[in-house]
Amino acid sequence: MSAALLEVEGLRVGFGNGTQAVRGISLSVARGETHCLVGESGCGKSVTSLAVMNLLARGAVRTAEGIRFEGREIAGLSEREMGKLRGDAMAMIFQEPMTSLNPAYTVGSQMAEVYVRHRGGSKAAALDRAAHLLGRVGITAPGMRLAQYPHQLSGGLRQRVMIAMALMCDPKLLIADEPTTALDVTVQAQILRLLQELQHELGLAILLITHDLGIVARMAHRVSVMYAGRVVESGPAAELFGRPTHPYTHGLLACVPVPGKIARGEPLGSIPGTVPKIGPGYSGCAFRERCSQAMPACGAGDVPGREAGPEHRYECHLGADWTARLAAEAAA
């Protein structure tokens, strides 16, 4: 596993009020690979990404057995050391392109700023690079855009600017926190294609956070499904979509409406209930109250981790063949 660019082990994040947002998760992102973190709202996806960058809000407590970036332990780095890494080797783009740019400065000065900060050199050289990158992310007339203020740009343009800004220092890892949620579907497709192209060209590793399984299917090499602060199932994308094993992953996939597969008038799939609040001392499977397969063992203790295939892991009391068994019982 020397190819892993980012390795997170046993990451936990708790908040002052006792809420535990992330409860001991591990994941790794290999060079040039897209790793998707999926799950519904409030399951700890964004907190995980912020924890990796050490950008959690005050009051959040992060502990980890290890966070390694390029083989270097970064969990214990000082704020100053982390600052050198952020925006340079690891960049981040956010969900809301409408508010992620500072309204007080032009696009050019914001982009140049990042470069001068990390790489030094003249502002003119940084602006040249900014113009080049704006062209690269598909913005026409980059010279004109550099002199514009964020409010003069549309949402899609702003997200492109954010991506170009993230690329200013040739990052190795790009953390994208729901980068297309606020955009309409056509622009979303363009942005995703752009990210894929950039990945091919620059060998970027992308940690993509999303709740949209369509995006996952399209982008991911590897997927981690999060639920209530745990990674409940993870594996290569094809494997996970081909043989979803955790009941939650099952449920999620059942929620995706497929034209032609569901009859007209038939209700769309859903998972009943909401994510429970996880306080201190919570034990058992967090999904048990919403799970169709819940059994007494789910109520307490740790949930065992199991293998469902090569590099395909899940956390459940059920055996990997439970769906087949269920189908057989139904047939009998």
Partner: protein
């Protein structure tokens, strides 16, 4: 055809008033017809030239010591503007620093800032001025320092609340994610995005400072005579107001017009800057 709105007219009028008073104050030595300190006991209490008994040499007449009232009014404008601007700079520096730090860091820092604001709000201004003047005597510097060190509360409150809003916006998070330092984020990300609120506070505080200076001078706690402060002119004129009402009306109306002008200008700035931010 579109007519400019009443608000726009008021803003323009206010800005014009402030500009005129500012220019008059700056150019006072060159545009006043007489030295404001030279007394002429032969020509006391002459009414303005447009009133009965007035004479053309003294446009606004003379005061109880025969000093040219127009010249004194213009020098008074100088003092009012000086006090207004110097007070706003002093109190702005204190208030904005405290407010931004409290709003940005929150927690214990914010507790300290809130405590300071509460303490400040509970201090009666006139009493403090009285004590200070009693201790060190009255002078222009003392007035500016007293007002400057006491009028920062609104700056602090506004800076604190706007900083709290801006601190949580995505572009500040993006700046953190781009590896920016704390100082950079405070000065380059937060401050430029709250400054338009503070400019409006500054105009209001300036009007307040000018009024307070007049009040303190009227009470004999502000600018010492024979300096021609508008408040002092009103104080000196109050003994003569029944027979020569213009001696109190001239500085009184000037004060009213200037403060009104500053407030109009502040409202105009608020509309303008507010509109620009609505993207």
């Amino acid at each position: 055809m579109r007519f400019p709105s009443v608000r726009l007219l008021a803003a323009g009028l206010g800005t014009a008033i402030v500009a005129i008073v500012l220019v008059a104050g700056l150019l006072a030595p060159w545009i006043t017809p007489y030295d404001p300190f030279i007394t002429n006991l032969d020509a006391r209490m002459i009414p303005p030239s447009f009133m009965e008994g007035g004479r053309p040499e003294n446009f606004l007449g003379t005061d109880q010591l025969g000093r040219d009232y127009f010249s004194r009014l213009i020098y008074g404008a100088r003092i009012s503007m000086l006090i207004g601007i110097a007070t706003v700079i002093t109190s702005g520096l204190i208030g904005i620093t405290l407010g931004v730090l409290g709003g940005f860091f929150g927690g214990r820092v914010d507790d300290v800032v809130m405590f300071a604001i509460t303490c400040r709000l509970s201090i009666p201004l006139i009493l403090v001025a009285l004590a200070v003047v009693g201790l060190v005597g009255s002078s222009l510097t003392v007035v500016v320092l007293t007002l400057g060190l006491l009028l920062w509360d609104r700056f602090a409150v506004v800076a604190r609340s706007t900083t709290m809003q801006v601190r949580n916006l995505d572009y500040v998070a993006a700046a953190w994610a781009a590896g920016c330092s704390q100082a950079h984020i405070l000065l380059r990300e937060v401050l430029p995005n709250i400054i338009h609120h503070l400019v409006i506070v500054a105009t209001l505080e300036m009007a307040l400072a000018i009024l307070l200076e007049a009040a303190l001078s009227f009470l004999g706690l502000g600018v010492p005579p024979p300096l021609p402060s508008w408040g002092l002119m009103i104080a000196e004129a109050k003994e003569y107001m029944f027979f020569s009402p213009w001696v109190i009306m001239v500085p009184g109306i000037s004060l009213f017009v200037l403060v009104l002008g500053i407030n109009f200008m502040g409202d105009g700035l608020r509309d303008m800057l507010g509109a620009q931010r609505d993207v």
